[in-house]
Each structure stands twice: as C-alpha cells, then as structure tokens.
Subunit: 214 residues, 2 copies
DNA sequence: ATCAAAATACTACTTACGGGTGATATACGA
DNA sequence: TCGTATATCACCCGTAAGTAGTATTTTGAT
C-alpha cells in the first residue's frame, strides 16, 4: 500500500474538531498529523508538517481561515486546502477559490462524504457540494451578450484573435498571407464596429471583467 | 413517487447512443423521451419535448453540440445540458460552461456515474469529473504564481494597471502626474522584468487567458 | 443577374510605442 | 556610510499603430 494521506485540521469548535479527528483517524489510508484551534497556532507548525490535506475552517476566532489561505499556500505549497464551513455563502466560496482553496465542504456532511472529499482533493479533484458546484459553474456562463463582438466577420475575428496574441501588423500579415495594408484595413473596421481607438481597448471588449475583479 | 426525470440523448455514434439509452431506460426515475443523431434533428423536436436533462455530445457531424448550446438554451430554457465527450479538452470545457452547460462527463464513465450525474444535474448540481472540477476551480485562483509579476514595484503595478485600461502614455502621465518620459521609463522596466516587448504581451501575462478564446 | 457585404490592397499622414543611453534624488538596508 | 533599489526626467531614433480616403475583386443572397 502506498503512503498515507497526511491530514491536518484547523477548527475552533471542540466538538466538530473531535468529530473530524475521529473520522480521519478511522481511515486506513488517512493519517492525522495535527489538530489546531486557531490559525496562529497552526501557522508555526505548518512548515514542518507539510500535510497533504488541510481541513480549514473558514470562520475562526482571531484570524480567519479565509485570510490565512494565501499565506498558508506560501508556507506549504504542496498542501491542498479543503475549506469547511457551516455556511453556503456564495461570496465566501469565491473568495476561498480565488485564494487558492481547491475544495469546499459543509460541516454537516456525512463522514463518508468527508473522507471521500479528502481522497478526492488529494487525487487532484476539487470536491464541492452540488449547490456549490452549480454556483461555480454558473459564474462562467452568462459571459456573453457582448453584442458588438457578434457584428464582426469571421476574418475580423481571426485578426482580432491574432492581435490578442500580441502580434504586430506585419506578423499578422505574414501569418495569414495578406498585405499589411489589408490587415490595417480590417483592424480599422474592427475598431469602428467595437467603437474603440486602440488594440488594448478592443481586446478589453473580449474580456468579461467579472473574473478579474475579485 | 414524484415525476420521472425526462431525458433526451443527442449522440451520433449508434453504439454509444444505444448504451446511453439502455442506461437511462433501466432506471425507475428516468424516462427516455428521445434519442437523436444530430443537432439538426434534435432542434426541431426540442421545443415540444422540453426534456429535463439533455445528454449532448460535443463533437457531432454537421453542427456541433458546442455550437448548438446557446440556441438550445433558448429553445428550452428549463433543460439542463449535460455534455458528453471522449476528450478531456480544457478549452472545450470552458467553452461549454460559458455557453450554459451545467455538467460535463466523459463517455467512458460507468453506468452508475452517468445516472448519478443525471440525477445530480437535475437536482441542481453540476456533475464533473475530478480533473475537470479542479480545472474549473483552478481558473478562479488564477493559478498564476507568475513570479514575474511579483517582481514589479508598486509604481510599476500601478502603471501596468493603467496600461490595461487602454490608456496611452500621455494619458497615464496626466493621470498620475508624471512626465511621459518617466512613464516610458517605468514601462521599459516592466517589459524587462516580464520579459516582453509590447503592451499586449505584458497584459497577457496578467491573464489566465483560458476563458477568452473564440 | 444584380446588389450588398466582405475581403483585398494602395497612398499618405500623424501619433504612439519601444529601444538605447544617461542623469539626478531619495530611501532603505548591510 | 556605502551601495542598491526606486522613482523621476530627458533626448534621440526608428518602427508600429491608428486615421483618412479610395478602389478592386470575391462572394452570397435575392
């Protein structure tokens, strides 16, 4: 059998922490290497432990698990962080994900679900509850209605795409066998349709800022 | 017992289609209401069927399932679209999600996994394989660690951000009360640190680019 | 067959951008 | 205190980019 999956728990509620410890300890392939009740006490040990998986409570007294995430990633880049929470708060989910958590479970989950989440996250997956998964996926959709972009012809889209790669007019011309003047003409038309005056502005119309604002 | 989940299948491969039909038919709570081998034949029936769940092949002869997605959502807004594919192609996954698919499975999945995915998507979840889930989640964390960006000073970041807005050197200079020459100097240093030769290349280093391909 | 849209290409002009080189002042840490 | 990092500004130069006007050919739809 291969090496056990090392697990650390950071959870202030004694009862829940005990519950989690018990679950982890009961599994043959999991090894509990530490349990902490605060981010502060966990932080000093983390660099020595380098756990495979960390069960991290989002809302902790003192510094929250949410705040700690980016630092935790630095202290132990190889660890996967599985956030635990009682809430199903959309804002918090995205906060966690953008800060580097790769899984998200609710504390009320069954022991079976929790252990499978630990195995899943360690195996390269991203365990989430059904509703959370849907929210995450939902964030991707509805990125359309760009309207202006629809008015571009196939050729114009192609050229815009090449502009996005950072190619110069000359390089674009060579790539698709056009004269530089023709490229220039197409770009002029693109700018008119998108109502912009520069490459960067045009490119920004391609990008739903949604993802970059967080 | 509550109403059955109505399922439609769009898949050109006879064998796979038959396999899927068999799986759906074998379940008490699922009801197969149609199987099609092309988007075209499916499209005309969709408005009358209004299936709860559609198993949609991504790559189909003629019009692809990927292309069809936005229209399908219009024809039947209440349906959930579960994409089926042989590939695990990252580009395609994000394209599907952007276009409104809410689940993504590989055809080689076990019958149990397929039926649970159907139930999951109908119950409001977003079934995905472990690796796909990780990719989706990774998209949020801006899995960058691009280290290069970390080497920029506060001033350089500020200017890079303004470059991103599409401002010209002159406009940047006016905005933060510098001479154009100073702006130019900062930008030159940014380019050196990021190892690029143009604004667009620099900006592309800021972006997880996965989302914005055509 | 005809008209419109799209793709191609040119001339000419102005401004923006990027590279090279050098300089000064300030702040911070070894 | 000395050096390094940062921030500021300047001049020169050549190319890239954007604007304007025009024109030919190809393609698609009516």
């Amino acid at each position: 059998m291969s090496k056990k999956i090392s697990v650390a728990i950071v959870e202030d509620d004694k009862e829940i922490s005990g519950f989690l410890q018990q679950i982890v300890s009961s599994q043959e392939d999991l090894e509990l290497i530490g349990a902490f009740d605060s981010v502060e006490s966990f932080a000093v040990k983390l660099p020595d432990m380098l756990p495979d998986v960390v069960l991290l409570d989002i809302s902790l007294p003192g510094r929250s698990g949410l705040d700690f995430l980016p630092d935790a990633k630095k202290l132990s880049g190889s660890s996967q962080f599985l956030m635990c929470t009682v809430f199903d708060d959309e804002e918090k989910i995205f906060e966690c994900l953008k800060r580097g958590a790769t899984g998200y479970i609710v504390k009320s989950s069954s022991p079976e679900l929790i252990v499978s989440a630990i195995r899943d996250i360690h195996a390269g997956g991203s365990p989430m509850s059904a509703t959370i998964a849907r929210k995450v996926v939902g964030a991707f959709s509805g990125v359309k209605e760009s309207s202006e972009l629809d008015s571009l012809t196939a050729r114009e889209r192609e050229i815009l795409h090449l502009l996005d790669q950072g190619l110069r007019y000359k390089e674009i011309a060579e790539k698709i066998f056009l004269s530089v003047e023709t490229v220039r003409t197409h770009i002029r038309n693109i700018y008119i349709k998108l109502q912009v005056q520069s490459r960067t502005e045009a490119l920004n119309k391609l990008r739903p800022k949604k993802f970059f604002l967080f």
